[in-house]
Amino acid sequence: MNEKYDEKQGELVLAAEGLIRNYTKTGEQKGKDEIKVLKGLNFQVDRQEFVGIMGRSGCGKTTLLKILGMIDRQTDGKLYFKGSDTEELWKDELADIRRRDIGFVFQDFYLMDSLTVRENIMLPKILDKGTAKDCIQKAEESAEQFGIRHLLDKKPYELSGGEKQRVAICRALINDPELILADEPTGNLDSKSGDVVISTMTEINKELGKTIVMVTHDPKMASYCSRLILLKDGVILEDLKKEGDQEEFYQKILVKMKEL
């Protein structure tokens, strides 16, 4: 890792250096006729930042988020998580990071229908060998905080979209991670539920001090972020900082969207 990162290592959560991700077409040989999704991305995410990633469908937003979440691996380039080169880490170390330091919120909620809401929330804590008492207590606290305590004994399929997403947020926070990665968390929700979810995300960022990286293609949701990375065809078109109020940022995003 270079010196400039070292200086601010304490502040840095993620750093991408020339991140490339290619996919081989089905039936093709590796290296031949590849689809280049990410074409060398360079950016950093500081502690407590709320970063949005925006772009048209197919520009590589979700692919990028998967690589940042260490669910997928980059084809080339470096990704540093809190100063550690993720390529140097063993699979179980990546699993430990995903379990302890990262919380995931997905567009389709990704809850297990076989478990109750309470168990879904507790799952990362259980996988972290938390004691039964601690798991239950934390799940209840978290549910209380996000107003879903009354849903704890229900099954995921009995909940509305907004409720499901709040359950997913509770699950993402149960191990008190450093970073939250959200893949279009409002994409499957109506505007009212979407507002609740984005307010919750803002609250998590501001009050709990969590770093958030959120993929969205909704300019309104993007305007909640403190910074916005605009992707086009696998490259960063612009890295916008929020200066001024939300409305101003929203207008700026709308202008930039025309270039996408």
Partner: protein, 895 residues
Amino acid sequence: MKRGSKGSIVIIMTGLLTQIYYCYPWIRGGEHTYTGLTWLSAVFREGGAAELVAREFPLSQELGGNAGAFALQFTGIVLAVTIAQLLTVATILAVFSGRLFKLGSTIALVLGGACCMIIANPVAPDGVFIGNREILSDLPYIYPYFLVVAAGIFFLVLRAVEAWDEGTRRMHKDREERKAYRQERRRRLYFPGRYSRLYYQILWKDLKYRFKDMMFLFLSVWLSGLFLFLGFGIYQMFSGNYGEDGGLLGLGLVEIMRDFLVAIAFLGLFLIIAALSFYQKRKLAGSGLIKTLGIRKKTFFWSSLAELLGCFAAAYLCAAMVGTVLLFFLRNGFAAWMPEYENAGFVSFFVAGWSLVVLALVCFVAYLTCMELGKGYGSTDTRGAAVRWEKPVGRSAWVTVLISVAAGAACFAFYGQRRMGEKLLLVCGILLCVMLMIRSLWGIWLRMRQKRQEAFLPKLTKEFRIRCRFRTMIRYMSMLMFLNVFVMMVFSVKFISSQIADEPEALYPYDYVYLANSQDEAYFEALQQECEAEVLSFPMVRATTLDATEQPEEDYRVIVVQQGQNTGISESTYRELKKLAGEKPRDLMLDEAGEKIHVVYQQDQASKARPLDWYLCSSRPYVHIGQALMGHNYITREQTYPPREIVSEEREALTGAYRQGRYENLIVFSDTYFESVKDCWKTTDLLTGEPVSEEEAVPDVTIHEWPTRLMLVNVPEKYQERADEILGEFRKSHAFDEAFDPLVKSAYISADARHQRETERQMETIVNGIVLLMLLAVEIFLLRMKMKMDLPELRRDYRFFEVFGMSSAERIRLMKREVSRYVWVPLILAGVISLVLTGTVFGLRMYEIKDVQNYLKYGILLWGGYILAQAVNLKLMQRSLVRDLEGTKTGRNKK
């Protein structure tokens, strides 16, 4: 070099030992003896080498002008030896101080080489007939040569110690690195504590949620386990009856069960792969989430494995329990229906053990296959994997077609040869090739069709599921095709052939068959006098082949214990036997050397076509004239068991089908050849088959008179009891001839054989019937499992069609097609393959037109019944599917 290390001690010790060489007073002069050092000091003392050499070696003076050069040469050699000595000492001292003076030993070795060169070249010019050796005498001349040995040993030891030292250092470094890596791993992956009870509760809850999916896996393992258990059980029951005394020969039944077990192992494999891949696919979403949330790799692996092992173990236990009960009833049923079966073996740990081992193996292979199939999912996020399209075919589809056609044709060509003995593995090979060929061709067709959108789009609703689930579909269809071929060909042939085979009366034309020799005249006189027997006598020889077992040779050099014992007769005898059977003899093209033979397979239509000799599956059987040999030199095998060429063959019970083609076939030689070998027992070693001289030929010590007379005896019914007694006495006196194999006797009774064959056929009918019913049950289970597996996807797809306005009638038509595809395609393919293979079996077993006609009568009934059962099952499944997908809505529409 570390001071005091083992290596340094070895170097020092070797160095000190070499000093024995250096310090030896090897220069034996006329007046004194010297070591290297004392010689050199004497040179200094004398003021020059020439004087000293002249004094000590006076003969050198004869060199005249070269004497000075000789003195210098010799002193140079002494100097080299001394330098080498000093270098060795320096090396030892260096080692003492912890360093390695490698150059010292190298220079010493070079000096050794130089000494050899110098000493070997006399300085004397041509014409002077003395050389170094004459001047110096033996020891001082030879001694310098050994410098190269002494220095060489030291050099090698030094290098070896150095290499050893380096190796040890590296090993130590590697060990340190591994230790550091382990410590680092332990530190970085430190994850103390235990999972709470919640972890296990969650696993259990998730498992319960997927219980329906797991039931398919459970049922597939249960069904495979049950059939394996039953197969091994029945096999054990019957195999206890090997040999004539067991009440029932049972060889045919053992064979059936062996084929059944192969079939079940294959089908079980397909079945479990299908259920396991379905199960894993359904589990993907949940397991993907757990992986995303950061479960440790090992934890995940063990939890998944425990789940599968639990399912397999439970399924096997249930299978074993049900199997034990069924076998109990089966055994008692047999015993009640056929009292001969009181000797049937019990179900023991053999059954449980072997069925468990085979099932475990099948499950393991299925698991590995599914792991390989699941590798394509790649990323940890597996949400999309369950709905991902399956790749139809790769780039090498045409190559696969070519390879499978070639391999299939080869398998078919081999199957069509008698020497392969109707091997089931070849049928499996043919089916695998057909499967690969169909998969590749269908895939290519699909790819081409997709490119032509105008052709593909109108058929989209009919073919979209084939496109996205191509591999699963082909896997399933192949499995069903396998199953259909097992029903329509493999076991149909077994079942029907025992129905159409000649009546047992026709298989045994004479009441008694004796394989006698010149000592047995008294028995036949007694038969004629006491029993009014009609006795026919023909000359014969024992014609023994190398191998009567179907097992592949473990070591082809060793003699096989069960050799094929047949009856060798002359062409004239064959003609007479044919006339006696009321048939016209064939014209045989036999040679005088006995290389060309005609074979009469004495078996019925129900017995499979076997080769005369199983040895290495050769097309030329190795036939020895004489009884089975105890010892055998594989280098001279072709002299003791000369390979013969079968020029013609037929299936006919001329003397009696007592061993159904396995033994006692008739091998016909030309009259000339037969005459030349009929008395060769007198000059043949009974153990090794090697020639024995007349002096060494001692009866029953070095030679033995094997059966030389084929006696066919008919006795009026009233005397048969007495005839049986005479036969008993005859057999006692021929105990040696019967000692080679429990199935080969010296005399046979047709009444016993008839009864035995009748019982055997009844048993074959029952067992094959059970096997056919089992296979039908597996087929129905497979089809139903497939439908249940597809139901969630079908429900989603047909909801989509409904939403987009497809009419109910059209939807129902498509739904029915989804089911019927899995019935008719495998059935048609299997039908064609079965017809071709059944035709091949007709050829192999030499069926006559009337046999084929009889077979077809039964075949039409059996196939018809099977197809009808499939059609009924299809209708029921279609109805059930339509009800599942349309049922409630249809009801609503009706309202």
